[in-house]
Symmetry: C2
Subunit: 157 residues, 2 copies
């Protein structure tokens, strides 16, 4: 049995995100899961995901990982917060209002990146998620996203 990722609960109409949409055949297919109180996402960059300096991962990829892992964490946290399960397939999703990344150290290529997320605040429709990105337990970047809940229905009109 394979554990379902947060993003696997998104409805088909909203599963085409380049970062995390399971239906985007050109996309990154970012997947997030719970690990206790934290959310975790592991990602193996492709050989071409290099930054300006050889051997280091592209900063834009790191920002992308934080965007989708943050959105997924907000989504999952909302339904856990309500006491429901993520498989209730609720008709709402999160859009990113703000994204901040601090690049603390070069992120080496040819390694699995591990993102860990924590819900910092839930207030009304707004969820703030803080994250780290580590390689072999060394934190290479920290980030924070502000996510805002939007009804899928309102966006389909």
């Amino acid at each position: 049995m394979t554990m379902k990722a947060f993003q696997d609960y998104y409805s088909d109409n909203f599963a085409s995100c380049f970062g995390c949409g399971r239906l985007n055949e050109h996309g990154l297919h970012i997947k997030s899961y719970w690990d206790g109180e934290e959310s975790v996402c592991r990602f193996q960059p492709e050989h071409y995901h290099t930054g300006g300096f050889p051997g280091n991962v592209y900063g834009g990829l790191i920002a992308s990982l934080m965007d989708c892992h943050g959105a997924g964490t907000a989504y999952a946290a909302t339904y856990l917060n309500k006491g429901s399960k993520t498989d209730s397939d609720p008709p709402s999703r999160y859009v990113t209002a703000a994204l901040h990344v601090d690049y603390l150290a070069p992120t080496p290529m040819n390694e699995t990146l591990e993102l860990r997320g924590k819900v910092k605040e839930i207030r009304g429709r707004k969820v703030i998620v803080s994250m780290t990105l580590s390689v072999k337990e060394k934190v290479c970047a920290r980030g924070e996203v502000v996510m805002v809940q939007i009804s899928e229905d309102s966006l389909s009109k």
Copy 2:
């Protein structure tokens, strides 16, 4: 005669960035130019660069554009600031210390995105660049990057 972009002056050893490296055959090939006091970058997303909501551009792509346009602007500004030209091919580059993006409105697909950058501050090895991303003159996102100058030599060792 074709105008040379900032990124076209990067030396071959440092031209493999997924975002803006001319030698990365899988990359985005982001290009930046001066337009008076501002830097400008125009980018046409591919059909698969969609976000979680159909018809809108992926936020991670927007962050990537700001990262590379900001780095290019810092690079060009440094050499203009010194009174030299960008074609002196100097052995230094910028790495991103911090990236912030505010997503103000959905960014529609099938349009050319226009990023405009301004140097907000140059202090020692640090350059701060603020940017907007617009579609048909409507600002859809604002961003700011903190770039730090690094010698290519020190990174090659």
